[in-house]
């Protein structure tokens, strides 16, 4: 490990342990594999725990995943800041592509969890065919009666 250069690392109120951990590993070539290692160790672990708590069926629901996802993004930003990297960068992009491939690969095109339409739409869709069925049955019974010549 290269502990060559450690700029001043004020412990930010947001993530004191994170800053301390990052400071130990920084080097002049910080935006390479060390950055990747850092975001996988510190950010992805928490995200993984959060997603495990959430039921797998809800992974495609934006309302349920927006918080952990936002935290993950924020975490990668902070690590980049501490390591004096540009953000976003190619490593972050690849990292997020891997996250998407693992967690969000079978979400539908619209990106939302599929839900039934509201009841005021669902109701007529169900009731109208039933009524048409009953009408049609009555029609057939009536026509069979008529074909015998009995009204």
């Amino acid at each position: 490990m290269l502990f060559s250069f450690c700029p001043s690392c004020p412990l930010t109120p947001l993530s004191p342990s994170l800053s301390a951990a990052v400071c130990q590993c920084v080097s002049v070539l910080a935006c390479g594999p060390h950055y990747e290692y850092a975001i996988e160790e510190f950010c992805l672990a928490k995200f993984r725990l959060d997603m495990q708590e959430l039921d797998q069926r809800h992974w495609c629901s934006w309302e349920d995943t927006v918080e952990p996802y936002g935290e993950l993004t924020n975490c990668t930003y902070l690590v980049a800041l501490k390591m004096d990297c540009f953000w976003p960068n190619r490593l972050v992009d690849e990292f997020f592509i891997r996250v998407h491939k693992h967690y969000f690969h079978d979400c539908s095109m619209s990106g939302r969890l599929l839900r039934d339409p509201p009841n005021r739409i669902l109701g007529p869709f169900i009731v109208v065919p039933i009524l048409v069925t009953l009408l049609m049955t009555a029609l057939v019974v009536w026509r069979s009666k008529r074909s015998e010549g009995i009204v």
Binding site: R115, I126, V127, T133, K145, E148, I150
Partner: protein
């Protein structure tokens, strides 16, 4: 396991259809309705097999989400509707025959064809439109949506109406006809009995579907029963309507006796007794008209002399 059920159903239904088409003496309007019912069951089982093999067990097809698998799903829903609406046609036919116009002339079957083959397009199309607009998942495979009730609702309505008609028929047979003519009401009871057994069997899966028991053993029993009710339907229908039918069994027995005497004759022919074969075949041909009894009373036109008492009953009933 579902594949086995549907394959057995298709096999038994094709055998029943062959029996109905081969024995021309059996054919009458009720058998025509049976033939259409069996055709719809064969097509339904075939479509189910195709969708089970090509779509459900193939995650990459589901992932690609081609239009073809949605079209397949549409036809599957259509065939499911056809099955239940043909059962309804059978019920309406028996109802019209027995309750509304006893011993009437032949009915026109056009409206039955319309209800059985044409009408199920309506719920299937409405389901397709609603699914595309509001719940367009891959290959429309999900069963977690209430939009499936667009198809299942009319099916349940058809089953309820059918049950009502059949119970009405039983009521009429037990009360009115029993007083006047026991023999004929027994005959009609046989015709109704098969349909009366089948309708609850086909419908009960919809009633008990939401109520899976919590207990492990009961849950497994429930799973097996539901599996049989859902995937062996064609076999049940073919067995109850064809293989257990008295006149079908009589026709098969007659054919078997004919073959036996022909083989016996051929062996005796080798001993050059050729004249006996002509008399043997003519004897087996004579009693065919007697086997029209059960079916012919449905399209009574007074041709057979043993139906004269039935004609008297007809005039009595129409003015009742």
């Amino acid at each position: 396991m579902a594949i086995v059920g549907h394959a057995l159903s298709i096999a038994s239904l094709l055998v029943s259809l062959a029996i109905f088409f081969y024995f021309r003496s059996l054919s009458c309007q009720r058998i025509t309705l049976h033939k259409n019912l069996f055709c719809s069951y064969v097509l339904n089982s075939a479509l189910t097999l195709i969708s089970l093999i090509a779509v459900v067990s193939n995650p990459e097809v589901v992932g690609r989400n081609p239009v073809g698998c949605k079209v397949l799903h549409f036809f599957h829903m259509y065939m499911l509707g056809c099955n239940y609406f043909w059962m309804l046609c059978e019920g309406i036919y028996l109802h019209t025959l027995i309750v509304v116009a006893v011993f009437a002339e032949e009915q026109h079957l056009h409206w039955y064809y319309l209800l059985g083959w044409g009408f199920p397009l309506v719920p299937a199309s409405i389901h397709a439109v609603a699914r595309k607009r509001y719940f367009d998942d891959n290959c429309w495979m999900s069963v977690e949506t209430h939009l499936l009730y667009v198809v299942h609702g009319p099916i349940m309505a058809a089953l309820l109406v059918n049950l009502f008609f059949l119970l009405n028929i039983v009521r009429v047979l037990v009360t009115k006809l029993r007083d006047t003519h026991r023999a004929e009401s027994n005959m009609y009871m046989k015709a109704v009995r098969a349909t009366l057994i089948l309708v609850p069997l086909l419908g009960i899966q919809f009633v008990i579907f939401p109520w899976r028991p919590e207990n492990r053993l009961a849950g497994e029993v429930y799973d097996y029963i539901m599996h049989i009710l859902m995937h062996y339907q064609g076999l049940l229908v073919a067995t109850i309507f064809c293989f257990f039918n008295g006149e079908v069994q009589a026709a098969l027995k007659r054919q078997w006796m004919q073959y036996k005497t022909q083989w016996g004759q051929r062996r005796r022919d080798h001993c050059s007794m050729r004249s006996t074969s002509y008399t043997a075949t003519s004897i087996t041909e004579v009693p065919t008209f007697m086997y029209h009894h059960d079916c012919n009373s449905e399209h009574l036109n007074g041709r057979h002399t043993e139906d004269s008492e039935l004609v008297a009953l007809k005039t009595g009933e129409t003015y009742a």
